[in-house]
Structure formats: structure tokens, C-alpha cells
């Protein structure tokens, strides 16, 4: 009799543990980059914020998951996601065939273009162009044989332009807005041009661990949901002066 009761209790506890484990909050490792305003940066209070960071937080809420951030540089993002070091990356990745081959990519959550900034008179290819390593703009410059001034992040480019170290840069649309609004740039008299080249424009998506298709589906549903219920637009308003589309 006592043995039977013990067995019943064991089964009950096992089921309870399994149930709790099943219902427990999932922990996700999320890759983020720093120093990339307005998408991902440390604000004056020392907290990580930005459009992508806040979107990531809302997605985690929607997934009922606890997200732990892993700081990466842009040139490490694709490798880290592909290797499964992070479950997904809260970094806007322009969708390219190469990235699609290595990662799972969510449905596009906006579309981006690129902007050329340069001191007056400096044309593409004439001066070293400051780019972030691993970015689509760096690849574009490399493909055209432009002399590059590579940096780890966008704020470093802003600093280089402010000090005169760099004469020109090629930036994604959102970072370009941040650069334009940077008070240090007003004295530089930089000229901006939207580069109408398909290689520098297109869908922006989040990279997901290629071995976790279930997470991809959940993230896609979560993106739809935060777009439908207005959370996406509220974040948009906080960080970018127009609607991302």
C-alpha cells in the first residue's frame, strides 16, 4: 500500500515538474549591437534602448519569454546567429541571398534605403568612405573598390566625421537620420544623397537561429501582433521622425 502511494506521488510530482517546465518562461538569448542610434544604443541614463531594442522587448513579451541580451558587433551578428550563440538578433538585417542561406529571417518589419554623406565636393570613390564592418554598405563599397574606413559601429563613424577623420560615409536610412540630427554635424556642412541602388535598399528583417523554425514562426506572429495593436508605431514615434514602412 505504502509503495503504491509512493508511486502515485512520484508520478504526480513528475507530471507537475513536466507541467511547470512546460509552462515556465522561456529564456531567449538575443543579440544586440551598441552605438547604433536610433536603432540600438545606450541612452543618457546608461540603459540600452533604441527602436530595435524596444521592438525586441515587445516581441519577448508577446512570446512570453525572458530575453537576455548578448552584445555583438555588426560584423559578428550573422555568424553568431548562424552558430546558435543567440536565438535571434535584434538587428535590422537587409535581406540578401547570402544571409537567407545562412540564417532564418523573419518577415520584413520595414524597408530601408541608404544615404550617402560627404563633405561638399566629395563624390563616391574619391575619398575613403567610413562604413561599419559587416554592414551591407561596407560590402557595397568593397564591391566597387572604394577605399574604406571601417568602424565597429555607427557612433564611431559619427565621431570620425565630426573630427574630420572621415570625409564620407554610407549609412542605412535610420542611422542617417540620427547622423543628420547629431549637433556635431551642423558645422561640417555634409551633403546627403539618397542612393537609389537596389543593393542598398530593401527589406529589413531579424535573423533567427537556423535550427529554430518554431521560434521564427512565433516571431513572425509576434511582429504581426505588435504592428496590429499599435506598439510598433509607438516605438517608431519614439525613435524615428517618420513612419518606417
Amino acid at each position: 500500500m505504502a509503495k503504491t502511494i509512493f508511486r502515485c506521488w512520484s508520478v504526480f510530482l513528475l507530471l507537475a515538474v513536466v507541467g511547470l517546465a512546460h509552462g515556465a518562461e522561456r529564456v531567449l538569448k538575443v543579440g544586440v549591437i551598441h552605438h547604433s542610434p536610433p536603432m540600438s544604443y545606450v541612452d543618457a541614463s546608461g540603459g540600452l534602448t533604441g527602436f530595435n531594442v524596444e521592438v525586441m522587448r515587445e516581441l519577448c513579451k508577446e512570446l512570453a519569454a525572458r530575453c537576455e541580451t548578448v552584445v555583438l558587433t555588426l560584423d559578428r551578428v550573422v555568424d553568431a546567429v548562424a552558430a546558435g550563440e543567440v536565438d535571434f538578433a535584434a538587428v535590422s538585417l537587409l535581406v540578401t541571398p547570402e544571409r537567407r542561406a545562412r540564417l532564418l529571417l523573419t518577415k520584413p518589419y520595414y524597408r530601408s534605403i541608404s544615404v550617402w554623406f560627404a563633405r561638399p565636393g566629395v563624390k563616391p570613390g574619391e575619398a575613403r568612405v567610413a562604413v561599419v564592418k559587416g554592414g551591407i554598405q561596407a560590402r557595397y563599397a568593397q564591391a566597387r573598390g572604394w577605399a574604406q574606413l571601417p568602424f565597429d559601429n555607427h557612433e564611431a563613424i559619427f565621431g570620425a566625421l565630426a573630427t574630420g577623420q572621415a570625409q564620407a560615409t554610407l549609412l542605412p536610412m535610420a542611422n542617417a537620420v540620427a547622423l543628420q540630427q547629431d549637433p556635431r554635424m551642423s558645422a561640417q556642412g555634409l551633403a546627403s544623397t539618397v542612393v537609389q541602388d537596389p543593393e542598398l535598399a530593401g527589406d529589413a528583417a531579424l535573423g533567427v537561429n537556423p535550427r529554430d523554425r518554431a521560434l521564427l514562426d512565433k516571431l513572425n506572429d509576434a511582429i504581426d501582433e505588435i504592428k496590429r495593436d499599435g506598439r510598433f508605431d509607438r516605438i517608431n514615434t519614439r525613435f524615428i521622425p517618420f513612419r518606417l514602412q
Binding site: 534605403i113 540630427q181 551642423s186 517618420f242 518606417l244 514602412q245
Partner: protein, 424 residues
Amino acid sequence: MTTLAKPVDVRRTWRAGRVLLALTSVFAAIAVCGVVWLAVDLYAVGVAAGRLQGETVPWTIERQRLGRNLEQLRLEGQRVLTASSPAGRQDALFLVHVLSAQPGMADDPRTASLAAEVERFLQQVEAPATPADMQVWEALSSRLRLMADDLSVEGGKRMSRELGRMSGEMAQASYKLLFNLALMAGFMAAFLLVVRRYLIRPLQRIRRVLSALDPRGPVPAFPPGPMAEIRAVEDAIVRFHATLLENDEVRRRLERLATTDGLTGLFNRHHFMALAADEMARAARYGRPITVGIADLDHFKQVNDTLGHAAGDHVLKTFAMLLGDTLRQTDRVCRYGGEEFAFVFPETTPDEAQLLGERLRTRLLESPPVLPDGRHLAVTFSLGLADASGCGLEESLARADLGLYEAKRAGRNRTVVTRRPDGL
């Protein structure tokens, strides 16, 4: 000789199991068709809802975003024309370029051309803007606002259209559901009517016939029905009734053989004794008078010897018929043996029985037996009576037999009552 053939019912019959199977199959087929018919609409509703959720709502949100960007473009354009500093103008112009180049703006030809027009205008206007520039700008600004309005309502219109279509499909599905329910209800009603008419009612009729089944009654008649099982039971009932009737007739014949005398038709001695015992017991229970008697035809042997046994039998039958005509219904009489007859007269004293005996004797004298050749036979009988109340049957009959003996001895053709020793 002509044989009249029994009319054969040529109406076709059906096995109830097969009929039920056929009805169920038809019902299932109709139900499946109805469900499929309904499922088509439900599927369409599902598709419409999915389209609404997956396409129309996101499209509507994108339209609103585009409208918002047009409004932003207008504000930035206003800032370009009214900026107090070159840097401010530069910032605003930068956003104008970015907004105009945004893929979302370029998707719609209307917004693409308007944004390009705005961008060109703002690019070529030099600060400060002239009144003519501001006039052009006002027109552009108005067009931007109207376009933003149009985009905002386009999403609503599309959603409204989709919802209307979906409502129509849902309404259609509802009608189909109602139709299906009505169809099923109708089929169920028809099914119940069939069961009631061809199974339940015949069963009720069978129950009524069985509860009132009497072999002496009329042959049960059933209206011809289509159900084979019911027909089989009804036919069996008719056969059962015929068997009951036959058995009843056999039983009656056997009973008659067992209780009556074959020549005279009167009760035989065995049955008489049983009836007499019952009457004696009843009289004793209620303290009523009862009388028994034994009669013997006088000189009957002589009739047999001179005229033959056929004449003797004729005399016996004639005397038996006279007894049947003269005695009361309640009186019991039997052929006791040979030319002897025994009687029980319930509710009758010996004196009253003597009157009956005298009436019988007189009638025999008045109506003597007539032989087939026309000769009249003068036949008489002697009768002994005894009071049987409060006595046993055998004892009473023995006393009646003494009376008979006394009547014979006294010259025959008379009735003698043997009184009991106690004077009764």
C-alpha cells in the same frame, strides 16, 4: 366442381431492416451533402477572415503609415520654407529626401509622383521663400493633406468591403445551416411518420387483436401493409386463430364424448355423479332442498325382445327427448344404465319432484314413442324419489332406488317417494 381460389395479395412487401437501412442511408447522404454544402461557405468565411487578418488589416495599417508619412512630408516641407537657419532648412530638406525616397512612398504611383513633385519644388526654392513660392506650396500642401486623407480612408474602405463580403458569406452559411436543420427535421419527421404508420400502428393493431383473440370470434382481419415482418406476424395470427378454433372444436367433441351418452345425448353416469355431487354440496352449503330420483322404463326388455333393439333404442331416444323438453333447466338427468335414468332436482322438495315426475309420466302417456312404421308404443316408467338434503349422494340414490323398487312392486307406472327414517 369449382374451386374458388383465395384472393392473393400481390402487393409487394419490404423487410423493415432494409427499409430502415435505406432510409438511414438516404438521410446520411443528404446530411453529408448538406454539411459539405455548408462547409463550402464556412471555408469561404474562414478564408475571408484569414485574408482580413493577414492581408487587409496589415495593408490598412500600412496605408495609415503612408498617410502619416505624407503628413510628415508636408510638415518637413513647411519647415524647409520657414526655417530660420540654414541648418534647420538642411535638416528638413534631408528628411524630405528620405521620405520621398522611402520604398513605401514609391510603391503607390500617386504618392510617388506627388512626393517627387514636392521634393523638386522644395529643392529649387531658395530661402527666403517668395509669396509666389508659398502659393505653390499651399497648393502642394493641400494636395498632400488630401492624399493623406484618401490613404487613411482607403484602408477603412477595403476593410469595410471585406467585412461586407464576409458578412454575406456568413449570412449565406446561416441560411444554409437553417435549411439543413429544416431538411433534417423534415426527414426526421418523415422517418417518424413512416415508423409510426408502418410499424407502430400495425403493432398496436396486433396487440388489440391478440388481447381480444377468441376462437369462437370472427377470423382476425388485417389491412395489407408493406412491412414483411408485420405481414408475417399478422398471417401467423390468422393461422393461430384457425388452430385455436380447430382445437376448441376437438375439445368440445371430446368433452361431449366424455360426458354424454352416445345414444340418448343425456349426461353419462360418470358426469352425472360429478354434477350431482356439486349440486348436493351447494344445497348443503346454503341449506336448500334437493331431491334425487331413479326411473326405469317398464317392460323395456319386452320391447327389445319383441320389436328389436332398434325399436328399444328409439324408445330410449324418444324418452330422452321427452326428458329434455319436460324437465327444468336446472334439473340434471343421466342415463344411469340400460333403461334406467337418474335425476337431481335442485331447490326442489320430494313432493315438488313428485309433481314433476307425474307431469313427465303424463306426457309420456300423451305422447308415446312412434316407430318408423307408424306404430305407437305404450311405454311407461316407474320413478323412485328421495330427499337428498343433508345426506350423501350414494345414500340418497339408494333410497330413491328403494322407491323405484316399491313403484315396480306396486304395479309400475307410478312415482314413489322414499321417506327418510326421520320422517323427512
